[in-house]
Assembly symmetry: C2
Homo-oligomer: 475 residues x 2
Amino acid sequence: MPGTQPARGTRDFLPDDIRRREYVIRIVRDVYERYGFEPLETPAFENIETLLGKYGEEGNKLIFKILKRGEHEASGEADLALRYDLTVPLARVVAQYQNELPRFFKRYQIQPVWRADRPARGRFREFSQCDIDAIGSTSPVVEVEILSAVSEILKTLGFEDFIIRLNDRRLLDALLQAAGVPALLTAPALVTIDKREKIGRDGVIAELVDRGLEPHVANRCIELLTPDTENRTFSQLAGDPSLNDAILDHLREAVRPHPDGLVALQSLANIRSIAHGTPAWERLAFDPSLARGLSYYTGAIMEIAVEGIGSLGGGGRYDNLVGMFLGRDVPACGFSLGLERIIVLMTERNMFPPAVALGAVDILVTIWSDESRAASVALAADLRKSGLRVDVYPEADRLGKQFKYASSRNVPFVAILGDDERARGEVAVKDLRSGEQAAMPRHEVGSFVAANREPRTENREPRTENLEPRTNPEP
Amino acid sequence: MPGTQPARGTRDFLPDDIRRREYVIRIVRDVYERYGFEPLETPAFENIETLLGKYGEEGNKLIFKILKRGEHEASGEADLALRYDLTVPLARVVAQYQNELPRFFKRYQIQPVWRADRPARGRFREFSQCDIDAIGSTSPVVEVEILSAVSEILKTLGFEDFIIRLNDRRLLDALLQAAGVPALLTAPALVTIDKREKIGRDGVIAELVDRGLEPHVANRCIELLTPDTENRTFSQLAGDPSLNDAILDHLREAVRPHPDGLVALQSLANIRSIAHGTPAWERLAFDPSLARGLSYYTGAIMEIAVEGIGSLGGGGRYDNLVGMFLGRDVPACGFSLGLERIIVLMTERNMFPPAVALGAVDILVTIWSDESRAASVALAADLRKSGLRVDVYPEADRLGKQFKYASSRNVPFVAILGDDERARGEVAVKDLRSGEQAAMPRHEVGSFVAANREPRTENREPRTENLEPRTNPEP
């Protein structure tokens, strides 16, 4: 017999896992839809040439390839490959349906991707990505709307301590130029600067010199990219508009000879001023050292982080990528929320509403005897009409055993339809939490259970700020 | 540049497609959860030995196999394979988590599967299956609960004309034996009988004789398996309990010498009597000729069909399959809803509520000038708090162009924040359907739009019978 574990690096999601995932995904979708993003889904596999060469040498190796079928199987060749991310499929969709999609196409996409990475704690070969991208405009309104939506999601999920680090790729280039970093050393210098929080200011300077920078250039780098802001945390920075202004002013001097850098500063200032009055506003902090995988960003770059925890997602403007199949540039700005990480964090921090962890069933209808099976099944059908989640014990069995089964599944109530109850048109309802039992007319069971079950946040339609809860059928 | 079509036999789902799919899936999940089924998801690929040999010779050929990676890639060998159905993964899960799952495990699973079939109209290489299975009990309550849930789903979706054909595999065997069909001819005989609606009674008899049955055996077959019920349609049959009883009596005589057949008849009678008082009751019709891929069913078999359209799903009891990785029999009964077919049918029959086809945005906030961008974005943020779906035109542009964009996306309202309006704390709101425009205080825009937008069924939380609509924020 073969093993029964899922394939290496993949996971089975049992009901409790899915309830947690769905809780998060519903909030994400609800917010993105209120921001005018529309859903998109693409197939799990693409023609192999659609994916090969899009993710660099390393990426190519991590793509799962699908063997040709039939007589070609023996050739060992692959003609299809599993989706590696959601961006290349988006670029394909934008090209394929260019005449059907709106001029400003805003889509969200939450689907699994597959990478043949070495599995490790928190790193899987199948994992869900959660991307939004707004296509068709270079306006900073796009960046603000994205940051606002993501902020609203995190607040709704209960994250109170995140900040948005904001930078611009063109500013980064200008600052390194201004510091005197030779073009060839730009990339390695940024890798080092990215480690600042880990190895500290002095560590960064030492490593920059190791990498071949003159000491005064290394020092100048650190001065420009990590302005001394009186050692404030990013949370403090985010809350202090004047400090953000001070950073901008500080940088303006340095990049004056670099026109692209000035454009970037103006763009950052625009994003900040437009964000006033949105959920992103108080979380926004400039961070000239933010690099975020330099390769394809062309403008604003952003990252949402929780201090002491790290990034929960990031994104930016990338105006040359989505047009790859069209042969021309298409303006785009996107954000990828770290869905898997968020679910892990929320589980560790106990951030799910109690109902998400509770059993999914409100009441179990027991079966008294073979003769009463139809009565139990009919009661269940009626209770479901009032919106309750109802399970039926499938067999006539000792009542104690049926109660025990209900308890083991966290079902708060059981209904008993004994011969006496049926004769009187009544149902006995037992609350397994308190042990109390009461007989009541059959038609009152539904409202009794609805009124006395755990007050629960609907896990399938989570509450969002300023919305009335939609769950309880009672006023 | 590579082509931009999705891989052969797969589909991209654009926003309108997904809204339709999601509408159906929400109803399915909502009903299954009210019946105590819990969600399960398994990985897209399995170790190849988990799947090979489970689907017969033909199935093996249709499995998509994934090439080994790294140095082994050149070997042309495969070590993983894409999910071919949801039943084998369920069997694996039941074995792997046998100590964590409840004694009666009821799960629903809605995920894509992949088959290297030759694509054809309505046949795809990637398509979603939608399965429920109830594991752990041999009680007929299980069959009834499944049929009741499926009936409730179809009614909620708006299918008024379906019937449930019900049979039992053991009865089928007994009837063929009683008719004198040699064991070796059982399978081909059933294939022929299954064509009755296409080729008619006489056609069936002729084909049975062709396949080697004596003419009197062929005649006896058709007599037993397709009892003359005065040429009534199945809908008429389903509504007529006495006729169903007559069929049972008719068959009881014939199978008397076959104990398994009598057991099956009793089981069918039990299912029918327990179903009284459930949504399945009035749709239930015995059909002794229903065969449904004989291979693994061991008891009840069922199919939901719409006359003139065909099957919308089917299932049955299969007590030896789910235990395949445990090395012992595990009682199980399942049903697979034809999700893809249902969506196609509902689209053709125009069965989606208008809101599902409408645009996803309630109001587009226009941008008057670069200076007013922040005001527009802030208005959008406030409107979203009241639950509206709000898009912001990303750029200052001619208003006419912005209106036209909104119209093209079916957005009913646009908000205008001109210099005058902003100075007065007002917003001009234009109804693009009527052309009417009115200025109002900023804080009244949300309730105005909510009250005047298309009365819409929420497409993300569809109404079910006897539940209040949850969508309109107004009382």
